[in-house]
């Protein structure tokens, strides 16, 4: 089967779907290739935070990128909801990062001051709330005795990540994009005349450009077109409860109540290779933490625990790169696909459509791992 596209996007997860959606909006002919139902699919374990506070601690370029993405989100959400007809359950009324114990409050304050100082020109909107201030700000919430305060980030918010993915795919289709499920990309072959042939099983597709957004699968695909971006798995386990009446009005990093009323808890960071097993031990740890912050959660029924593999680059910050050896091949990797979705579907897709990554993404090329710059 031969079809000609402007772009083939390998991977229909949070990153691939957003980029494809943006490209289709820039009037590109796009083929979006998705893997099998049982593939790793990091998008299924995204916590759903649209988070700016503390992002890119140690990497001001990523810090700025997150801020930019956060700013684009409200308009992006409105437009996507309208186009797809799918309600995203997006809220941006700020977010909390709880501190348990006095020293944690001091440490967090210092860390956030340092973080904010890196980009003094940005209105980062963070404030440290001590216990009393926290209670005043959220009078209806019952905090546990160990909660000494929290960092409140006014730029933070949350969204239903699964609806986001469904909406991106639905809107992509409405924009005339082609989506093929159960078509994992197995091989990318550059064509002498320019462009690429992409093979999936017995099917072959051709395009001028190929974007690798295949999460952990990018390790295999990248080198085929000169994009040796290193990425490794990191397991994250998440818990979700039954649906409950509202008890937490804003998301926290580690606890958030979804638009359906369920409460999500998480996420672990485990280096266990490609092991997707859940552990009772992690469930106990996450439950203890949750109950320390919101003791009322002790009565909530845990309905489900699952694990996914985070797409982790060596420094945890995204990777964007154009292939030096294969013109028209690109790669995009990150583990914050939700926060960055607005950027991926917007400025990044536009830039790709125009044939070049914006220069402010240069520091996020993977060569930073081989040639680290003194910051």
């Amino acid at each position: 089967m031969h079809e000609d596209f402007d772009f083939i996007v390998a991977g229909a997860g949070m990153v691939g779907a957003a980029i494809a959606h943006g490209l289709a909006g820039a009037r590109q002919r796009v083929l979006l290739l998705d893997g099998e139902d049982g593939d790793y699919r990091a998008a299924k374990a995204n916590f759903g935070l649209v988070w700016v506070s503390g992002k890119g601690y140690g990497n001001p370029h990523y810090q700025r990128l997150s801020y930019e993405a956060g700013h684009l989100w409200p308009a992006f959400a409105r437009e996507l909801e309208q186009e797809s007809g799918i309600a995203l359950q997006y809220e941006n009324r700020g977010g909390l990062n709880f501190c348990l114990g006095e020293s944690q409050f001091e440490e967090r304050s210092a860390a956030m001051r340092q973080w904010a100082a890196r980009t003094p020109d940005l209105e980062l909107g963070i404030e440290m709330l001590d216990r009393a201030a926290l209670e005043r700000r959220f009078p209806a919430v019952r905090f546990g005795p160990d909660v000494t305060g929290a960092c409140f980030g006014s730029q933070d918010g949350h969204v239903n990540p699964l609806r986001l993915l469904a909406a991106l795919q639905a809107a992509f289709l409405k924009r005339g994009g082609v989506l093929k499920s159960r078509h994992p990309v197995e091989h990318i072959e550059p064509l002498a005349s320019g462009g690429f042939t992409v093979r999936s099983g017995a099917a072959r597709f051709a395009a001028r450009n190929v974007v690798i957004a295949a999460g952990l699968g990018s390790n295999k695909l990248g080198p085929m077109v000169g994009l040796d971006a290193p990425v490794r798995p990191q397991r994250g386990q998440i818990l979700v409860t039954e649906r409950l009446a509202p008890l937490l009005p804003v998301p926290a990093s580690g606890i958030r109540q979804t638009g359906d009323g369920t409460v999500m808890l998480g996420v672990t960071q485990e280096n266990v290779g490609y092991d997707l097993a859940t552990t009772a031990e992690a469930a106990v740890r996450m439950s203890r933490n949750a109950v320390r912050v919101l003791p009322d959660l002790a009565g909530a029924r845990l309905v489900r625990q699952w694990a996914c593999l985070r797409v982790l680059t060596p420094d945890g910050c995204p990777v964007y790169a154009a292939s030096a050896s294969h013109c028209g091949a690109w790669i995009a990797l990150c583990h914050s696909g939700v926060t960055l979705a607005s950027f991926h579907a917007g400025p990044l897709a536009l830039a790709l459509a125009g044939g070049a990554l914006p220069s402010f993404l240069d520091p996020l090329h993977y060569e930073r791992f081989t040639f680290p710059q003194a910051v």
């Binding site: 019952r142 039954e242 649906r243 409950l244 009446a245 009322d296 009565g299 029924r301």
Partner: protein
């Protein structure tokens, strides 16, 4: 008001105990499940769903449908088909998304 949809076979001399459903005392036989008792009431429903607040009553009686959930002695979302009645047991129906704050 319709009569109850279920009735017990007459068992003369069978022991009985009392529990409350939403505060109302109700008779039960030792060894039976709370779900069975709920089904004998004018309202067989044990709850309304947290999704669309639809009334639900016990359906499978063996713990695989999760429709028979109710608050039993203060513990919410309990599968009543797996709970044996006890003297003085407090059963409360659950409505919609339940609140964790008492």
């Amino acid at each position: 008001m319709s009569a109850s949809r279920f009735r017990k076979l007459s068992e003369p001399g069978a022991p009985s105990l009392t529990l409350t459903i939403d505060g109302v005392p109700v008779e039960a036989t030792p060894g039976e499940t709370v779900a069975a008792v709920l089904l004998r009431q004018q309202t067989p429903a044990s709850r309304t769903t947290p999704v669309k607040e639809s009334p639900r009553a016990p359906y499978c009686m063996m713990g695989v449908c999760f429709d028979c959930l109710a608050v039993v002695d203060g513990v919410a979302s309990t599968q009543t088909c797996l709970v044996t009645v006890r003297e003085g047991m407090r059963v409360e129906r659950q409505y919609g998304k339940r609140s964790l704050q008492s």
